[in-house]
Amino acid sequence: MNASRLPAAEFEAEEVLRAAHAADVGRDQEPGGEMLQVLSSDGSMAGGMAAEVAGSTVDFAPYLSATDAPHLRSLYRDMFLIRRFDQESTALQRQGQLALWVPLTGQEAAQIGSGRALQPQDYAFPTYREHGVALTRGVRFDEILRLFRGVTNGGWDPRERNFHLYTLVLAAQSLHAVGYAMGMQRDQLADPSLPQGVSVAYFGDGASSEGDIHESMVFAASFDAPVVFFCQNNQWAISVPSSVQTKVPLAKRAEGYGFPGVRVDGNDVVAVEAVMRWALEHARTGKGPVLIEAYTYRMSAHTTADDPTKYRLSRDEQEWQTRDPLARLEAYLRTAGLADESFFEELGAEARSMATDLREAVLSMTAPDLESRFAAVYAEPHPLVQEELRFFQQYEAGFADEGKHA
C-alpha cells in the first residue's frame, strides 16, 4: 500500500473497505458449490429437492413439509419469536442489563429448521449462538439469558432438554457430541428396544478450522457414530471471511472423512429441515455420521462488542437482506394463502408480550452468592475447597456490623 492510499482520519471505513476489496477481487467470495433449496429468496416454492450425495441420488421429497400449512406456520412462528428475542436481548445489552449478547439474526432458518427435525431422544451440543435450536428443545428464553446476565455459566438442565450447555471454546463440544453418540451406540447394543438417539454437533465456519472438528470427524467416521455435524457457515468468524477458513465448500470436507456431506441453503427453513431429517435418519439407522453445511449469513455483529463496519461492506449486508429467511417464508405463506393477516398480527402480539415478560425476567434475576460457587466445583467433598469456604465465610462475617461486604 503506498502512502497516498492511506486512509485520512475523516475517511469512511466503508470506503477503505471498498478500495481494499476492489484491489483483491473475489478473495472473500465463497468457493462455488451446489446448494439445496426449495424456498427461494423471492418466496417461491419448488416442487421437490434432490441431490447427488456420496455417489447416489437422494430424493428429499419424503422429508419436505412444503405443503403442510400448520407446520409451515409453526416454523415461521419459531423464527419470528427467536428474531424478536434476539432484538430484545440486543436492547437489554445496550441498556446495560446483559454483559454481552450474541445475535443470531439471519440464521433463524438454519437453527429452527435443524432443531425442529430432532426427535425427543436426540441430543444437541450447541456452540453459543444456537438460541433458535434452544427454543426447539424447550429451553426458555430467560434461561438462555442467565449466562449473558452473568448469573451462571450454564442456565438450564441439559439432561431435561437434551440440549447441552453453551460451550465457548470453539469446537470443543463437537467431540462431546461424538462421545455422546458413542454412548448412544452402546446403550442401543445393551438394550435394542431403546429408541435410537442421534447426537448433533453445532459449529460454524470459523470453528471448522479447529483441530477438534477434525478429530471429532475422524472418531465419528471410525466408529460409525450416530452423529450429525451441523455447520452454520455464516460467512464470518468475527472479522475473518470464510474464505480464510476453507478453500472448498465445507460440506465437501466430509468426503475426506468417508461420510456424506450436504450443502443446503441455510436461509431456507423447509430445505434445512428436510436435509436434517434425512441426515438424522441416516445416522439413526446405523449408517454413520453426516455433515451438513447450512449456507447462511450473520446479518448482525458477532457480538454486541463487535463492529462489522470495520471489515465488511454494507453492500454485502444489503445483498443478504434480500435472502432473509423470514421474509421469504412470509412471502410464500401470504401468496399461497396459507396464512392470513390475523396470523401475523397475533404473532406480533405474542412476540411483544414475550419481550415484555423477558425483560421482567431478566431484571429480576438475582446474582448467586460467591459462597454457593464453592459447592459446584467438585461432586465429592474436597478439603481445600472446604477450607477456603470456611475462610471466606469468616472473612465475610467480619463485615457483619457494616452490612454485607460489597
Binding site: G179, D212, F219, L384
Partner: protein, 324 residues
C-alpha cells in the same frame, strides 16, 4: 495376598473395574490388541471386547473429548495417554471442559472421567517421554490428581478413581511399572486422596510421591546410618493435598524436605512449603527445602541421571535443613 508389579496391579485393578461396572470402558492409543506400550491393558480387549476396550484414533484431544461425551451419557471412561509429554494436545479438553463442566452446570453435571498418564523420567527415552507435568493440572480447579507409588496402591487407587464422581488424573510412575510388591485384593487401600506415613521418624520429614517414594525411603535408610531419624510421607494425592498429615508430621519433626521430579519452580513443593510455613511456622527448625528438577525442559537421556533427584540430592537437602 499376591505379589505383582505396579503395571500388573493396574491391569488387575482395571480388570476389576471393567468386571464390576458395565458402564466403564477403556480408551486410548494401542491399548487393545497391543495391550498398551507398557502392556498395562494387556489381555483386557480379549476379555471385554472392542466396545469396552477401545483402540482410538491417534488423537489425544479426541480421546478426552469423546470421553467427556461418554461420561455425559452415563459412562465411566478410563483414558490412557501414552506418555506424559503427549497429554498436551488434550490439555484444552481437560482444563477448559472436563474440569469446568460441574461448575458450568451449577453442579448438575458430573464428568467422572479417569485419565491415566505414565509420567516421569529415568527410562533413557527421547524427548516428551519423561516429563512430570502434574503441577499444570493441580493448578486447575475441578480436577483430582493421584499417583500411586506401590502395587497395593496401584491396584486400589485406579478403582477408587473410577468410582469417584469427579474427574481424576492418575499419574503412573512409569519407571516403577516393574516394581514388585504385595497386593491385598480384598482390603481396599486407604482413601486415595490422603497421604500415608511410610516410615516413622523424629528429626525431619521427607515428602515425596510417585517415582521418588522409593528414593525417599532409601535416603531415610541412609540417613539412619548417620543417626538421623527421618519420617517419609507418600503424598499419594497431588490434588487435593493432605496437608493435615504433612503438618502433623512437621509439627513433630520440625524439618521438611519435599522431593519431586518436576521442576521446583512453580511445582507442588512450593505449595507445600508455603502451607507448612504458615501452618507449622512455630514448629519449624529450618526453612522447607525443595528437591526437584531444574528450570529446563527435561534433559536428554545421557544426562538425566544428573537431573533426576536421587538419594544424594535428598540427603544434601536434609543436610541443609539440619545446618540451621
Amino acid at each position: 495376598m499376591a505379589t505383582m508389579t505396579i503395571a500388573k496391579a493396574i491391569n488387575e485393578g482395571l480388570r476389576a473395574s471393567l468386571a464390576h461396572d458395565p458402564k466403564t470402558l477403556l480408551m486410548g492409543e494401542d491399548i487393545g490388541e497391543l495391550g498398551g506400550v507398557y502392556r498395562v491393558t494387556d489381555g483386557l480387549k480379549r476379555e471385554f471386547g472392542a466396545m469396552r476396550v477401545v483402540d482410538t484414533p491417534l488423537a489425544e484431544s479426541g480421546i478426552i473429548g469423546t470421553a467427556i461425551g461418554l461420561a455425559l451419557r452415563g459412562y465411566r471412561p478410563i483414558c490412557e495417554i501414552q506418555f506424559d509429554g503427549f497429554v498436551f494436545p488434550g490439555f484444552n479438553q481437560i482444563t477448559t471442559q472436563l474440569a469446568k463442566l460441574r461448575t458450568r452446570s451449577d453442579g448438575m453435571l458430573s464428568a467422572p472421567v479417569v485419565i491415566r498418564i505414565p509420567y516421569g523420567g529415568g527410562i533413557g527415552s527421547v524427548e516428551h517421554h519423561s516429563e512430570s507435568p502434574e503441577a499444570l493440572f493441580a493448578h486447575t480447579a475441578g480436577l483430582r490428581i493421584i499417583t500411586p507409588s506401590n502395587p497395593q496402591d496401584a491396584y486400589w487407587m485406579i478403582q477408587q478413581a473410577v468410582t469417584c464422581e469427579d474427574p481424576v488424573i492418575v499419574f503412573e510412575p512409569k519407571r516403577r511399572y516393574w516394581l514388585k510388591g504385595d497386593v491385598d485384593t480384598r482390603t481396599p487401600a486407604a482413601d486415595p486422596f490422603t497421604a500415608q506415613v511410610l516410615r516413622r521418624g523424629s528429626d525431619a520429614t521427607v515428602v515425596a510421591y510417585g517415582p521418588l517414594v522409593p528414593v525417599a525411603l532409601a535416603a531415610a535408610a541412609a540417613a539412619a546410618e548417620d543417626g538421623r531419624s527421618i519420617e517419609v510421607i507418600d503424598l499419594r494425592s497431588i490434588s487435593p493435598i493432605d496437608f493435615d498429615t504433612v503438618t502433623a508430621s512437621v509439627t513433630r519433626t520440625g524439618r521438611l524436605v519435599v522431593a519431586h521430579e518436576a521442576p521446583t519452580f512453580g511445582g507442588l513443593g512450593g505449595e507445600i512449603a508455603a502451607r507448612i510455613s504458615e501452618w507449622a511456622f512455630l514448629s519449624l527448625e529450618a526453612p522447607v527445602i525443595r528437591v526437584g528438577g531444574f528450570h529446563m525442559p527435561y534433559p536428554v537421556a545421557r544426562v538425566e541421571e544428573q537431573y533426576l533427584p536421587d538419594i544424594d540430592r535428598i540427603l544434601e537437602a536434609l543436610d541443609r535443613a539440619f545446618a540451621y
